[in-house]
Structure formats: C-alpha cells, structure tokens
Symmetry: C3
C-alpha cells in the first residue's frame, strides 16, 4: 500500500492533524484582524492611517503597538516557529512506518498541546504553564524528525 | 493512478502554483537585500557596521529601521504567515480528489491574489485593497484545509 | 517506482536533509530558551514578570531586548524565511526526476551552507561571510523551484 494514501490510516491521521493545525494558524491571522478592529489600532503600515470604509476616522496613535494585538502576534509568531516544521516532519514520519497507535498519540498530543498553549497564552497564564505545553509539542517534533532521519538512513 | 504524480493534473497544477509561490517568497528575501543596498541601511546585526566590500563606509544610522526596507519585511512576514500553510494545505487538498476545474480555480486564484497583494502593499495602496486581496487567499486556504480534513475523516 | 518512497534514493536523500533542517529550526527555539535562562531576560510577554519556579525573582528589565537573545531570534527568523520553502521545494524537486548525483549535491550543499550560516551569524562574523553563505542556499532553492515548475509544466 502507498504510504501517502488516505487508505493508510497513519497518513489519514496525519492529514487530519495537519488540517487542524493549518486552520489554527490561519485563525491567528483572523484573530489579529478582529483584535485590530476591536482596538481600532495596532496597525503597522503608514498608509493604514488613510480614511477608508474599514477605518473611517483615522488617528495617529493607530500605528502604535497595542498589547491586545501584540499578544496575538506573539502567539502567531510562535506558530510560525513550530507548525510549518510539524507539517513536514509529520509527513516524513509517515514514511518511517510507525504503528498506528504511536502515530495517533504523537499527532493528537501535538494538536492538543498546541491548542492548550494557545489558550494559556491568550489568557496570560504564568510562563511555566505555556513553557510546559510548548515543550511537549517540541519534543514530539524532535522525536518525529529523528525517527524520519533514521528511517531514511537505513533504507 | 497515484495522487502524487505529475501525471495527475491536479497535482501538476498544485506543483506549478506551489513553485511560483516559493519563488515569490524567496524573491522577498532578495528584494530586502536590494532595498538595503539602495538605502545603505535598514541592517539589523551590530556586526553589519564593520567595513566590508559590500559596506565600505559604515555609518551608525545603518542599524536604524528604514521604511523602504521595513515595508518589504512586512510583506515578507505576511508571506511567512500564509505561504507555508498554503503549500501544505494545497498538497493535502490533492488527496481529496477535487475536480480539476475547481482545483485550478483555487490554486491560481490564490497565486493571483497573493501577487496582487504584493503589488498593492509595495505601492502603499489603501488598507482595504490589501485586506480584500488577502481575504480571498485566506478563504481559499480555509476551504482547502476543511476539504482535506473532511476527506481524511471519511476514509 | 514511486517518487515518494524511501526506496527512491533521491527521496531518501531529501528526507535526510529535510529532517536535519527541521531539527536545526527546532534547535533555534531551544537555543532561545537557553539564552533567555542564561541572561535572565529577553522575555516578551508581560506575564513573564510573575514569580514562577523558572523565574523565582523577577525584575522589570527582563522584558527589555537583550542582544544575546535577539541574535538567536534573528537567526531563527532567517530560518523561517528559508527552511519552510526549502522543505517544500525539495519535495517537489524529487518529482522532477533529477539525477541522484545532482540531487545529493544540492540537498547537502543546502544543509552545509545553512549550518555554516548559523555558525557565522552566531559568532558575529562580518556581514559578507553571512551573505555569501545565505546566497548559496537561496540560489539552490531558486534552482529547485524552477526545475520543479518546469517539470510540472511539461507533463
């Protein structure tokens, strides 16, 4: 059977987890937009001070950083540092022919800890909570990359 | 037929669109370099103030942000927030066996609106133009991720 | 033979190079954590000033940028601008059926110049050294994307 086929349950699990993580990352962009509209600021481009239907009454302070927007940007950057590598490491890991049981644990633990990391960061939990949740995902990522490397080396 | 084969026209379309988007992203790095050399500044590392063949006469202000460089960096960051996820979502979407007609529309609309977003941002068009172009691409990305998730769940 | 199989030596080479690059990127996150703990600062979230087991005696300056941490963040951002695109361009390049000899040269030259770029940036070598190493990787990336585009267009 092909490794990359939705009939391979390991790949199907990967495809599910990867789709959820992609939606999560895209959601951060939308959350940034929502916060910028709520706050009426946190913009970055000078031309955003021109009056438009979405910003009818501009004011100079709109280009200043706003913590409610910056918080979402920090969460987003953390996603950019993690998710693209999970998306490719997970795909390569499928080729190492892991057991379905282990693969499911790894993929869904990654998704759950990333979503919990988001909630912890959004609600400004103590640093150590955020760090612990990030660490689980990062260790899963390292494990999958090493398993993929090993499988590719011994072929 | 294998989903991932250039003989599959949906995958071939994906491979074309993905290659163009990769070249676009890499082009942002080069555009940053070009702008930094034109401006003679916008550098970020303290060691960039040492005299070298590429920077024969350093001056302290070279580490200050320069809007002509920062604009390219903002466009680049917007790419980092979008393109890696398009690249993987598009690949997963191929496995959902979409019609070639729909897949072509989605892939090329994504490419065209991202290139238009670049032109709008580079030329400092009003925020709403940029936002509208970004929104089309983001909705395509969300649609592809949901279609991929659905296809992986029903297998 | 399937293009995407570890029995295809071009894909196996890609999988090895990709895994190493993923581990490199994840390593940047850990290096940021290590530096923040060494420095006892360079934090970004306001809640990181709360006393926790990992930060028992907070002080206000911990949120100020610290060059030893910022240097790692700049290296990391450079990875985010390059590695996700290499990971996908490399995968697409496998479908263009390159010779194993050429593919090995490209994949490993990319890995070696990226690791050398890291060392050059970490040790604050002159800008031109860093630029030269980055340029090699970027040209490899451009070559692979163009080869993939050409292969997808002529099918």
């Amino acid at each position: 059977m092909d490794a990359l086929s939705l009939h391979n349950p390991v790949f199907a699990t990967y495809a599910q987890a990867a789709s959820v993580m992609i939606l999560k990352a895209v959601g951060m962009s939308w959350l940034t937009v929502i916060r910028m509209m709520q706050v009426g600021g946190g913009f970055r481009a000078p031309e955003d001070l021109r009056a438009t239907p979405l910003n009818p009454v501009p004011r100079p302070g709109q280009l200043a950083p706003d913590e409610r927007v910056e918080r979402i940007r920090r969460i987003h950057l953390n996603d950019l540092e993690n998710l693209p590598f999970f998306l490719v490491a997970g795909l390569l890991y499928v080729f190492s022919s892991p057991s379905l049981r282990v693969a499911r644990w790894l993929f869904w633990s990654y998704v759950v800890t990333r979503l919990a990391h988001f909630v912890a960061y959004l609600t400004a939990q103590a640093h150590d909570v955020r760090a612990a949740l990030w660490t689980v995902g990062s260790l899963i990522l390292i494990y999958m990359a090493i398993a993929s490397l090993a499988a590719a080396l011994i072929q």
